[in-house]
Amino acid sequence: MIKLEHIFKWYNIGGTRSFVLKDINLEIEQGDFISIMGPSGSGKSTLLNVIGLLDEPNEGHYYFMGEDVLALKSKKRTALFQSHMGYVFQSYHLIDELTVYENIETPLIYKNLSGKERKAIVGDMLDRFGIVGKKDLFPAQLSGGQQQIVGIARALAASPKLLLADEPTGNLNSKQGEEIMALFKQLNEEGMTIIQVTHSEKNAEYGKRIINLLDGQVK
């Protein structure tokens, strides 16, 4: 499904190149469940962003379902990815002006689903994550953990083929974390490809494969 070849990513700091990703080669099959680990600043989020095409590598090739996406026009590229991907951000990135309900609904609006379909899906999500009571609250009125759960619910609402999750359990207690992991595992078994970034060995174990990053290199 995903094939990364010689991916380099660097920033020019004071005239010298500071590498964040160095020669990453990676193949991910449909139905995979991958955990990316590594110390802070090792490039985990950057790698996830490259895969999610929020960020472009400076060098290398990236094939998504056989297509050379870096060669695609940006419009087509976003369309391709948006129809396949759900993204859970490390710092949630909920829309402050919208309620929990509306936040979860937003990606469905962009998918041009009808109001009825949206209502059913959002209701299902609220149910599944046990946040029905919070649906009319604004993000500022939620705890960090609750916001993270809304972020996950929003990513899953559009039932993506590929879920990219950047430390999805970073702000959750261990019981909540386990529940989310169990959910991920179930979704993976149902066919969803998942790539998650985590600091927790235990959560990483839920994946079928663990990739360790150190200084932008796969170890």
Binding site: S45, N49, L54, Q82, D96, E97
Partner: protein, 795 residues
């Protein structure tokens, strides 16, 4: 970038404010320079009889002296006589036409305050054949002001020579009259001295105390009974004032304090066109609004800028900076910016002063705007603007809970943006009102230009000062008519533009005149070529004929006159007689024709009764011309003029120009409103631009998230623009009724006027939305196209 927008917006607003404030103060300052201004009043007469209503700033020659002799509150009086119009004054061997002159009593200088350059004003006009000149007139004729004792020759009666007895400084521009020459009253070419019911003098009264005004007004009523009524009985069928009144008539005098004349008086016989309080109000409002818009911008842009610095402020406060320290920093910045704005505003004022003078018709100089009186005000304004504009962001940001700012993802909650949104709505409401005003004024002017006024005004050349030709008027006319390109011509001073001669007289159907049956009618003496020259249409009857001797007692009426005389149909009017009482003589005229009504006054006023009489009135001549080479034709006509009247300058004008000059005030209004609408809209757009930039900045993260979740660039742009369009629509809703009401009031002045139609509002709405969208969309597109990763980078 923000600071620049801020300063530019503020400085244009301030410059506009300074201009209009100067204009308004000038309008308000009229006639206040006279040291006795508080005690000087002008007398007005109001005579309403039947259909004719005369409200005039004139009295008889007798009224002033009688009031002074009989009532103790009247300390002094002075009169001006201007009805003899322009004079020709000899300069070397050329005669120059001078229009700015009057005959004045010697008491003129006891009431009014002018600076003497030479001579003694106390005795200046006591003797006949004396004249007082202003500095500029003296310099024009003598290249010197030290000319007391020298003489001026005029074309009065027997070429009167006047002795110059004093020279004064030029009369200030902010005065309701402005003369270059004041001649002795004894030389006024007036025939009805002593006639209590002839109103031809402008009379000013100096009261003993400023508080005596109401006392004088009660005495004016007494004056009518005691002096005017007996005089009226001599030739009119009235027994008492009561009877006169019960017949629906009015005859009374009142007063206008001299300081109120310019803005509050608009009577017949004003000495020059006055200003209007309505316009002063409108302009004051506009100037305040423009200042407000500029300040609002300043607030909006400052807030926008400071919001992006909220985090810094939060950190500073966490590190121990005090609340007043933070507020002080913002206020200082705001003061510096407003100071920069003032400096730039002064530069703009200096550069655009000629433009403003042309727009406003004033002659301001730089030191009228920037002087020792206005500088402290300007300083205060700087402080005020700085304070108002700096206060909001200073108070707002310094009151932040620093922790919240640092932690939070959103800095400004929607409650605060409501405040800024209302500011934008307010700005747009003002500019929409001004745009609508501009449209309506322009449409009305278009309407005036293109309305069928009932006579020909294209290609008509008017030759002025025709009377200097003496007994050669006919010869000159025939000479001109022989030129190729000249079709037809007529000699008469009575022209269908308000700047020409007028002559109002009472006529009646019956031989005994009473208040019932008298019709006050314009009496125009014309020749038999008048109707064809102006293409006036006879509905029934015939034109005058040079061959018929009897036509000297014939009259041609307009349709309105037929109606007022109640002759029935126009056909019925033919052959009827109308009568005119002149002293003991009764003159009778037979109606031989009726012309279709035409607008011989400005379209502000309705058509009034008018009668054409065959007669000689050689004041101007009108020639209908048709030529491809106008300069050559004009040169030929001038040649001919120089043959007949070598000592007099040839002066001419065109009928369409004379017509246009009746609407000078309206055209000025239209240009002013256009300018200020553009200014207000421009400043409002600057504000909108700033707000859009601010919103885009504030919603950066949201935009990023939405893009990741699948929104297209277009979707984001629409989302961002929609909010602003909403604001403009709200502004439109607020502005429409205000503009509707205001412009209806303005149009009220016109008897002939356009209907305010919905398309003006629709068009204005579309224009303002387009302007708003153009302003906002650059920001919106930029925000929408930004790479989401830049705004979503982990913090």
């Amino acid at each position: 970038m923000f600071s620049l927008l801020n300063i530019i917006g503020l400085s244009f607003g301030l410059a506009g404010f300074m201009f209009i404030a100067t204009y308004v103060f000038d309008e308000l300052s009229y006639d206040r320079f006279h040291t006795q201004a508080d005690r000087i009043v002008r007398l007005n007469a109001h005579i309403h009889m039947g259909e004719s209503k005369l409200d005039m700033a004139r009295t008889s020659d007798m009224m002033g002296p009688i009031l002074r002799d009989e009532y103790t509150e009247v300390e002094d009086f002075t009169r001006l006589y201007v009805s003899s119009g322009a004079k020709l004054i000899k300069n070397g061997d050329r005669w120059i036409k001078e229009a700015h002159l009057a005959h004045a009593d010697s008491s003129f200088f006891r009431l009014f305050s002018y600076q003497t350059l030479h001579g003694n004003l106390h005795h200046a006009l006591t003797e006949p054949n004396t004249v007082v000149l202003t500095r500029s007139a003296a310099e024009r004729y003598f290249n010197s002001t030290d000319i007391v004792g020298r003489t001026l020759e005029t074309n009065d009666a027997e070429n009167t020579v006047y002795k110059i007895t004093a020279v004064i400084e030029d009369m200030p521009g902010n005065s309701h009259f402005n003369y270059d020459f004041l001649f002795a009253m004894d030389n006024a070419s007036y025939e009805n001295w002593g006639a209590l019911l002839s109103h031809n003098f402008t009379t000013y009264i100096l009261l003993k105390n400023a508080t005596d005004q109401s006392l004088l007004e009660t005495h004016l009523e007494e004056y009518v009974h005691k002096h005017c009524l007996p005089a009226a009985k001599q030739f009119m069928d009235v027994a008492s004032m009561e009877e006169f009144r019960t017949q629906g008539n009015l005859f009374y005098y009142d007063i206008t304090p001299i300081k109120d004349i310019h803005l509050r008086s608009n009577l017949m016989g004003e000495l020059q066109p006055n200003g209007s309080l309505q316009y002063v109000y409108i302009f004051s409002a506009i100037s305040l609004f423009i200042l407000l818009i500029a300040c609002v911008n300043f607030v909006n842009l400052s807030t926008a800028r400071s919001a992006s610095r909220a985090k810094d402020v939060g950190v500073h406060k966490l590190l121990g900076s005090s609340r007043s320290g933070v507020a002080g920093q913002f206020l200082t910045e705001s003061f510096l910016l407003s100071f920069g704005g003032i400096i730039l505003a002064i530069v703009i004022v200096v550069l655009t002063l000629p433009l403003f003078n042309e727009l406003s018709g004033k002659a301001f100089e730089i030191n009228d705007l920037i002087n020792v009186r206005s500088l402290p005000l300007i300083g205060l304004l700087t402080l005020f603007v700085g304070l108002v504009a700096g206060y909001y962001p200073a108070a707002f940001l310094s009151a932040f809970n620093p922790l919240q700012v640092i932690k939070s993802r959103s800095v400004v909650t929607s409650g605060k943006s409501f405040f800024r949104s209302s500011l934008v709505v307010f700005q747009f409401a003002i500019s929409i009102t001004l745009i609508v005003g501009t449209f309506i004024i322009t449409t009305q002017l278009q309407y005036i230009q293109h309305k069928k006024i009932g006579y020909e005004r294209e290609n008509i050349l008017l030759v002025s000062d025709y009377h200097v030709l003496g007994n050669q008027t006919k010869a000159f006319r025939d000479d001109i008519l022989n030129l190729p390109g000249v079709k037809i011509g007529t000699v008469s001073g009575y022209l269908p533009v308000s700047s020409s001669s007028r002559n109002d007289n009472p006529y009646s159907k019956e031989t005994v005149m009473s208040a019932h049956n008298s019709v006050s009618m314009q009496t125009w003496y014309v020749d038999e070529q008048y109707l064809p020259t102006f293409d006036l249409e006879l509905t029934v009857g015939r034109n005058f004929s040079a061959a018929r001797l009897a036509d000297s007692t014939s009259v041609i009426l307009n349709e309105t006159a037929v109606k007022h005389f109640d002759f029935g149909s126009e056909k019925d009017a033919i052959g009827k007689k109308i009568h005119f009482q002149l002293g003991d003589n009764m003159k009778s005229y037979e109606v031989i024709g009726v012309v279709k009504d035409f607008n011989f006054e400005s379209l502000r006023d309705p058509v009034t009764p008018l009668g054409f009489f065959l007669g000689n009135h050689p004041v101007e001549a009108a020639f209908k011309i048709e030529t491809a080479d106008l300069p050559a034709l004009l040169a030929h006509i001038e040649n001919s003029w120089n043959k007949f009247a070598p000592a007099y300058a040839f002066s001419y004008r065109f009928m369409d120009e004379a017509f246009d000059s009746m609407y000078r005030a309206e055209r000025r209004m239209s240009r002013l409103s256009l300018t200020f609408a553009a200014l207000a809209t421009g400043i409002a757009c600057l504000g909108l631009f700033g707000l859009a930039a601010f919103m885009a900045e504030q919603r950066r993260k949201e935009i990023g998230v939405r893009k990741v979740l699948g929104s297209s660039v277009v979707g984001i742009v629409i989302m961002l623009c929609r909010d602003f369009v909403k604001l403009v629509l709200i502004a439109l809703l607020i502005a429409v009724p205000i503009a509707w009401w205001g412009m209806s009031e303005w149009l009220e002045d016109f008897t002939y006027r356009i209907e305010i139609s919905w398309w003006i509002f629709a068009l204005t709405g579309i224009i303002s939305i387009v302007i708003a969208l153009l302003t906002v969309s650059t920001q919106a597109v930029r925000a929408a196209r930004a790479n989401p990763i830049d705004s979503l980078r982990n913090e």
